[in-house]
C-alpha cells in the first residue's frame, strides 16, 4: 500500500474518503430511522446487522485500505473469520445443551 503512491493517487483517494464519509452518515440515519418503526425481532436484527455490515465493510475497505491490501493480510483475516464463526456457534451449542438439538 505504501509504495508507489503518486500525489495524484492520494488526491483521488481523498475524494473517495469524503464519499464514504457521506455514505456512512446516511446509513447511520437509515438504521436509526428504521429502528423507530419497531419491527419485530427477526427482521429488526436482519436489517440492523445488514446495515452495520455495509458500514463496517466500507470502513475496512476504504479507510483501512483493504481493497488494495496484500494476500497475507487476507489470509490472516480469513483464518480469524473462520474461528470467529466457531465462536458464534456458542449460542447454538448452548441451547442444544438443553436438548433442543
Amino acid at each position: 500500500m505504501s509504495e508507489a503512491h503518486t500525489l495524484e493517487d492520494v488526491k483521488q483517494q481523498v475524494r473517495r474518503y469524503v464519499l464514504v464519509f457521506v455514505a456512512l452518515l446516511a446509513l447511520t440515519i437509515v438504521t436509526v430511522t428504521i429502528s423507530y418503526f419497531h419491527l419485530s425481532v427477526v427482521p429488526a436484527i436482519i436489517v440492523a446487522l445488514f446495515v452495520a455490515s455495509i458500514k463496517g465493510t466500507l470502513v475496512a475497505s476504504y479507510f483501512m485500505h483493504l481493497i488494495s491490501e496484500r494476500k497475507l493480510v487476507f489470509f490472516v483475516l480469513i483464518l480469524t473469520g473462520v474461528f470467529f464463526l466457531a465462536l458464534m456457534t456458542l449460542p447454538v451449542l448452548h441451547h442444544a445443551d438443553r436438548g433442543v438439538v
Partner: protein, 586 residues
C-alpha cells in the same frame, strides 16, 4: 560513567554502551529476554511443584502434620502443621494455574521460542524488540499478582484452575487476583504471539523458504496462532467474571441461586455453562500450545542425534497446521457432562477422534526417524526418546475421555489427572529438559555435566511414572480428583487407596532427583566443560552459525540459506552433516 552515558545519549551511536539495567533487566535483546523468561519460568515450575509436594503429603497421610515446612504455612492455612481443606483447594487451583500459565508455556514459548526462533531463521532479533520486553514484564506482573494472592484474606484462588462459575464468582478475594493476573498473562501472550508470527514471516534469512524452516520454528508459528486467536475469548470471559465479582452483574449466575441456604441477591439470568464454553475455547488449543513446542524441540534433537533427516518432514508440517486448525473445534469434549444434546455431542466426539490423527502422524514420524539411525544417547537424546512413549501414553489414554459414554464414568476422576499429566509432565517437561541440555552450550559456552544429567534423567523417568501410572488405576476405580483426603470416606475407593502413599513417595523422590538438575545447571554455568566449537553437536540449523554465546544482533557475517534443515549423513559428503548455510561447491 554518568558523564559518558550523558554524552552518548541521543546520538544513536552504535557503540553506545548499555547500562546494567538496559543490558540485563529492561533488555530488548531477544536472547536476554529468552533467558529472563527461562529463569522466571523454571522458578515458577519449582514453586508449582512444591505446592504439589505439600498436597501429596496430605493425600498420603491425611490429617498428619506436614514435616519440615508445615510450621511455616501459618495458622490460617495449616494450624499445627495440619492442612485445612480450604488451603488444599488453594494449592490445587494454584498448582494448575502456575504450572500451565506461569511455568510450561512461558518456558516453551517465551524462553525457547524467544531465544531460538530468531537464531534459527537467521534474524538479528525479534521484529519488535520493545514489544518483546513488554511481554516479558507483563508476564512478570501477572506472576507477581498470582503469588501475592496467597497473602490476601481467604488466600489464593481456590476454585480450580478452570475457575468454573458460579463457584469462582462467589469465592474469596484471591479469585479477583487470579483474574487480574490472567489478564496480564493474556496480554503478555498476545504481544508475544504477534511478535513471533511477524518475526517468522518477515525476518527469515535469504533463501530460507517456509519448507526449509526447522520443525521447531513451524511448531512455534502454529502455537503463536493458537495463542493469538484462542486467548481473547478467555480474556472476554475474565472481564465478564470480574464484572460479576466487582460490579454485581450476573453473567454466569443463574436466577434463583441459593448459597448455604441463603438466596443470592443478584439479578440472575446468567449462564454458568457460558463460562465453560469460553474457558475451553481457550483451554483446548492451550493443550496444543503446551505440546507443539515440545514436539519441535524433540524433532530437532532426534534429527541431530540419529544423524538422519527427520522422517516425513513435510507430513509433520502439514499435520501440525491441521492440528492447530482442528484444536479450535474440539473444545466441548471437556463438557460432555453438562447435559449436551446427542447431535452436538456426536459432533465433538467426531472432531476429537479426527484430531488424534495429526498427533499420531507427528509421533509416528518421530518414531520412524529413529529407525536405522546410529543413535548418540546423549542426555538431551535420552529425554527426547523418553518423550515419545510418555506422550504416547498420554495421548492414547485421552481417547476414552473423548468418547462420551466412557467419559461419563471417567470424568473428574484421577484418570483425567493421569492422562493430561502424561502429556504435560513426562511429555512436555521432558522435552523442555531435553532442550535445556541441548542448547545450554550455545547459551553459556559450556556443556552440562553428563553424569549428573544421566542421574537426573533415570531418576525422573522412573519416579514420574510412579506418580502418574497409579492414577489410572484410582481413576478407573472412580476416585474423584478433588478430594482433600484422597478419598478415605468413600467405600468404592478403599481398594485402591494404598496407591496414594506409593504416588506420594514417588513424588518426593522425583523432587529429590530434580536437585541433580538444579546443581548441574548452576555448577555447569561456572565450571562446566568449555565447548571447543560454536557447533558442539555437529548440527545443521542456523543457530549454530553464531558465535558462542551469540552477541547482540546475533550473526556476524551475512547469511544465506541453501538447503533444508536436516541434511544429516548426505551420501558423498566428507562430514555427516551439512549446515543450512553451506553453499554447494560448483
Amino acid at each position: 560513567m554518568e558523564h559518558t552515558a550523558g554524552l552518548a545519549h541521543g546520538e544513536h551511536d552504535t557503540s553506545h554502551e548499555l547500562s546494567f539495567w538496559e543490558k540485563y533487566i529492561f533488555s530488548q535483546d531477544h536472547k536476554v529476554i529468552g533467558i529472563q523468561y527461562g529463569i522466571t519460568a523454571l522458578l515458577f515450575l519449582l514453586f508449582g511443584f512444591t505446592l504439589m509436594i505439600i498436597m501429596r503429603w496430605q493425600l498420603a497421610y491425611p490429617g498428619q502434620p506436614i514435616p519440615l515446612i508445615g510450621q511455616w504455612l501459618g495458622d490460617a492455612n495449616a494450624p499445627g502443621g495440619i492442612m485445612l481443606p480450604e488451603f488444599y483447594n488453594q494449592l490445587g487451583a494454584m498448582h494448575g494455574t502456575i504450572m500451565v500459565f506461569l511455568g510450561v508455556v512461558p518456558l516453551a514459548v517465551g524462553a525457547f521460542g524467544n531465544y531460538l526462533v530468531p537464531l534459527q531463521i537467521g534474524a538479528p532479533d525479534m521484529a519488535f524488540p520493545k514489544l518483546n520486553m513488554m511481554s516479558y514484564w507483563s508476564y512478570f506482573l501477572g506472576g507477581v499478582t498470582m503469588l501475592s494472592s496467597f497473602f490476601v484474606p481467604g488466600g489464593a484462588a481456590n476454585s480450580g484452575w478452570t475457575s468454573y462459575a458460579p463457584l469462582a464468582t462467589i469465592a474469596t478475594t484471591g479469585q479477583t487476583f487470579w483474574l487480574c493476573g490472567m489478564i496480564f498473562l493474556i496480554t503478555s501472550s498476545l504481544l508475544g504471539s504477534v511478535n513471533f508470527i511477524v518475526t517468522i514471516v518477515q525476518l527469515r534469512a535469504k533463501g530460507l523458504t517456509f519448507m526449509r524452516l526447522p520443525f521447531f520454528v513451524w511448531a512455534q508459528l502454529v502455537t503463536s496462532f493458537l495463542l493469538l486467536l484462542a486467548f481473547p475469548p478467555l480474556e472476554a470471559a475474565g472481564v465478564l467474571q470480574l464484572m460479576d465479582r466487582l460490579a454485581g452483574t450476573s453473567f454466569f449466575l443463574p436466577s434463583g441461586l441459593v448459597i448455604s441456604g441463603q438466596p443470592l441477591h443478584v439479578s440472575g439470568g446468567g449462564s454458568p455453562i457460558l463460562w465453560q464454553h469460553l474457558f475451553w475455547f481457550l483451554a483446548h488449543p492451550e493443550v496444543y500450545v503446551l505440546i507443539l513446542p515440545a514436539m519441535g524441540i524433540v524433532a530437532e534433537i532426534i534429527a541431530n542425534n540419529t544423524r538422519k533427516p527427520l522422517w516425513g518432514y513435510k507430513s509433520m508440517v502439514y499435520a501440525t497446521i491441521f492440528l492447530g486448525f482442528m484444536s479450535f473445534i474440539v473444545w466441548a469434549h471437556h463438557m460432555f457432562m453438562t447435559g449436551m444434546g446427542t447431535v452436538i455431542s456426536a459432533f465433538f466426539q467426531t472432531t476429537t477422534m479426527i484430531i488424534s490423527i495429526p498427533s499420531v502422524i507427528i509421533l509416528t514420524a518421530l518414531l520412524l526417524s529413529l529407525y536405522g539411525g546410529s543413535i548418540r544417547f546423549t542426555v538431551p537424546m535420552l529425554f527426547a526418546t523418553a518423550f515419545l512413549p510418555m506422550f504416547g501414553i498420554g495421548g492414547l489414554t485421552g481417547l476414552p475421555l473423548g468418547l462420551a459414554p466412557s467419559d461419563i464414568h471417567l470424568h473428574d476422576t484421577y484418570y483425567v489427572i493421569g492422562h493430561f499429566h502424561y502429556v504435560v509432565a513426562p511429555g512436555t517437561l521432558f522435552a523442555l529438559f531435553a532442550g535445556i541440555y541441548y542448547w545450554f552450550p550455545k547459551v553459556t559456552g559450556r556443556q552440562m555435566n553428563n553424569a549428573l544429567g544421566r542421574i537426573h534423567f533415570f531418576g525422573s523417568f522412573i519416579f514420574i511414572n510412579g506418580i502418574f501410572m497409579p492414577m489410572f488405576i484410582e481413576g478407573l476405580a472412580g476416585v474423584s480428583r478433588r478430594l482433600y483426603d484422597g478419598g478415605q470416606q468413600y467405600a468404592h475407593a478403599q481398594g485402591v487407596l494404598h496407591w496414594n502413599v506409593f504416588m506420594s513417595i514417588s513424588a518426593f523422590c522425583l523432587f529429590f532427583f530434580q536437585l541433580f538438575f538444579i546443581i548441574n545447571f548452576f555448577w555447569s554455568m561456572k565450571k562446566g566443560k568449555k565447548v571447543n566449537s560454536d557447533n558442539p553437536w555437529d548440527a545443521t540449523t542456523l543457530e549454530w552459525d553464531t558465535p558462542t554465546p551469540p552477541p547482540h544482533g546475533n550473526f556476524i557475517k551475512p547469511l544465506e540459506v541453501f538447503r533444508g534443515p536436516y541434511e544429516y549423513s548426505v551420501p558423498g559428503k566428507s562430514r555427516d552433516f551439512v549446515p543450512q548455510s553451506e553453499q554447494e561447491k560448483v
